[in-house]
Every structure is written in structure tokens, then in C-alpha cells.
Symmetry: C2
Subunit: 211 residues, 2 copies
DNA sequence: TAGATTGTTAATCGATTAACAATC
DNA sequence: TAGATTGTTAATCGATTAACAATC
């Protein structure tokens, strides 16, 4: 059947992003149906996990056939908010911040980069694609006037919390934190961490102690 | 007491990277001792989790005082392999690949970028810091001759597996996957995913359904 | 029809938290 | 000493997997 209404655990949401990617690839390959077993094999999961996960979204498969690609894509797009345009700002115009502001995958998925900011006066005015780097003082105005919902924090660790605080005070709804720092935010503001350096340390550990 | 020898669960390893970051910040602030309670508050955990986690590393705290910063840093550096130099290549010279190749945080943590590669002939030869982009054909030689252990995959999703296969065939020990694709690798090769676009989708979901 | 695949319940597994004796 | 904090065991909680009746 499939339920809806209740909150979906983050462990499940993480996998839903992967199902969406795979389902979109299948749709582009003009595949019409996919079974839990096929999805599981492609993504390195069990079919049981796939069926459990999909029971959290409001969409049903059909016995002996599996899930219709177009319907499954539609419901995953909905639940992951990819059908919405998300106005987004990047704070930090270093290598990483500039790369993210230019990342095509973001605009392609509905994340509209409205501005890139840096506290370094030497960086202010520098062009990043069609945008020019702005000073931090302009951040609250841009967030307020352009209805910006998401802030991407790409600054050094020791500046991350104060940047987060400024974004929150400006009325942001969610933060994507790329720094290694832990960001404290009130309950109404969502924070997701994406720490590439931490992932590299995990990998170094896995290599060092692999058997 | 503290154990060693047994494999550490990845859930724990993820947090060890955060303890290391925090402990290094404390050491720079010339703090000498930290308790499980203090670490827990800073990182948004329970003190029980911190003590459980630290029981996986070969280091003991002291009652009524906590953990010595210098010793704790040393053992975390060891277990996360930060005391080693990791020769690393980046595959994909798009915005993200170039940014990672230039990311100071990497070299700072012992990840030595030995090369950046792209399949697009127009990108070959372009300078990225002190490196010039090389063609894919040169990848196996560089990996073999320079004892490269880590490959960072920053290519479009549909090229990710074949890039992974080439790196594996060249003798890589671990892959950091930034694409949304699922990478299949033999047991001896570690794979860690760091998907910034997926994190952004998780954030969009959290904002859309927040209460 | 026969049988492959779903949705869901129950069982297992693993991770987190609570509790507390040991101890500095 | 008194009491704060560790290390560890036991309890709880949540996530994954197995199993299977329902069904197309």
C-alpha cells in the first residue's frame, strides 16, 4: 500500500535520494518498470530494505511487475522537494564555495544560487559565473528580499557557527554545512552536514585497517 | 581502559573524525583536559556515546579529570591515519574536481594531490594550481609509479563506475566517490561516498516537512 | 492457472542511552 | 575524605533482514 503523513527516518531519506537518481537514469533509458530486487542489486541493498523504504512514500507497486518508473519518480521528486525551486546562497568564496556556486547539478535539481558571500574585502566584487561576490553585510538583505531558504556554509571551521547564526538571524530555513564544525541551530532550522574532509579521514582509516 | 585490534564500526569512525577536529581546536586553545560531558555538549551527543566511542581506541581517561588532550589527539591521529601521507589523485577537472585539488584542508591533513585527470581533451594541459590536467590514459602510470592509494571521483554519474574500474585496475586502495552513482568495488578496495547533491536533497526534504 | 513480486509483520541485528561500581 | 568522572554492563531504541500471506 504505502503510507504518508508520518515523518520519514533520515536513514530512509538518504536512500530515497539514491532511488531517485537511479529511477531518473532508468526513465532516461526508457525503462518502464523496476522491481525491488533490481533496485537493490544496483544500489547494493537488500530487496527487503527497498520495499520497507518505499512503504514510507505514498505509492504502490504491483505484484509480479514491480514499480512503475514514472510514478515512482514523481512521488520521490515530491517527497524530496525537487519539484520546488529552492533559493540558495553560498557563504565562503574559497575554492569550494566558488565550485559549488558554479555546480550545474545544483541548478539542475532546482537549487537556484542567489548569491555568494565572503568576509574578505579582497574577494568582494570578484566574478563567480554570472554572480559577483558580495560582502557579509549584504547577506541579511539578500536572504530577506529574495526569499532565500537555504544557506551553504563553505567557510573555515572557526567561522562556521557565526556564519550559521547570521543566516539563521536573517531567516534561513536550512543549512548545508561543509565545514568540520558542529553547527547549533534552533529546532525550526534544518542542518545537514556534508564534510568531504571527514569522509576522506574515514577512507584513510578504512584503508589503514583493511584486511 | 580501552581496547584495540577489533574493527571499529563506521558509525563510531564518523564521530572519531569529529572528536579529532574538536580536540585539535582545544589543543590550539591550550586546553589540557576534556571530559566526555564537554565533548558531548560541543558536538551535540550524549556523554555516554562519547565514552563508548573512546573505548574503541587504545587510550584511557582519568576519573574526575577526563581525557588528556595531547594523548587523545595522538591516538585519534593514529586511528584515522592522519599521521600518514596519502598519495591521492582527482579524476574529473570540472568545478568540483578543480576545487578539491586546490583545497588546502586536504594537503594540511596529509592528503597529497599527485594529479588531476579528465577525459575531455580540451581540459588536458589546463593548469590547476601547480598541476596540469592529464588525460585518462596517463592515469594507470601515475597511480602505479607514484604509489597513489586514494582516488577521488568527481565525474558525471554515468562515468563514475568506469572511472572507478580504471582506478581499481591501476591498483588504488580506496575511492572517495562524489558522484551520485553507486560504485561497485572488490572487498580489498574501500569506498566512501560524499554526495553534496544528495545532502542538499535531504535538506530540502527536511525543510519541506519540518514542523 | 502458476508463480513472481509486493506489502507487512515478526525476528534479528546493531547502535545508543542509562545506570552504576570503580577510582582518582 | 567526598564526589566527579571514567569504563563497562545492561536496557532501550531503532534499523535491517527474513518470512510469508496476499495478489496480480
Amino acid at each position: 500500500m504505502a503510507n504518508s503523513g508520518k515523518a520519514i527516518p533520515t536513514s530512509v531519506v538518504k536512500r530515497l535520494t539514491r532511488y531517485l537518481t537511479e529511477v531518473q537514469a532508468l526513465r532516461e533509458a526508457e525503462v518502464e518498470w523496476v522491481s525491488s530486487q533490481e533496485l537493490a542489486e544496483t544500489l547494493g541493498l537488500t530487496s527487503s530494505t527497498v520495499r520497507q523504504d518505499l512503504s514510507h512514500v505514498d505509492f504502490s507497486g504491483i505484484s509480479r511487475r514491480g514499480y512503475r518508473i514514472d510514478g515512482l519518480e514523481r512521488v520521490l521528486v515530491d517527497v524530496l522537494g525537487v519539484d520546488t525551486t529552492w533559493n540558495t546562497v553560498v557563504v565562503g568564496a574559497g575554492n569550494l564555495g566558488r565550485a559549488l556556486a558554479l555546480h550545474h547539478e545544483f541548478s539542475h535539481r532546482g537549487f537556484n544560487i542567489c548569491g555568494i558571500f565572503d568576509s574578505d574585502p579582497k574577494k568582494v566584487g570578484v566574478k563567480v559565473g554570472r554572480l559577483a561576490v558580495k560582502g557579509m553585510r549584504e547577506l541579511p538583505t539578500v536572504v530577506g528580499e529574495q526569499n532565500v531558504q537555504i544557506g551553504i556554509i563553505a567557510v573555515p571551521d572557526d567561522a562556521a557557527q557565526s556564519v550559521g547564526d547570521l543566516l539563521i538571524a536573517s531567516g534561513i530555513h536550512g543549512l548545508l554545512n561543509l565545514s568540520l564544525a558542529h553547527i547549533v541551530a534552533p529546532a525550526g532550522v534544518a542542518v545537514t552536514d556534508s564534510r568531504v574532509v571527514a569522509s576522506l579521514l574515514e577512507l584513510a582509516h578504512a584503508i589503514k585497517y583493511r584486511r
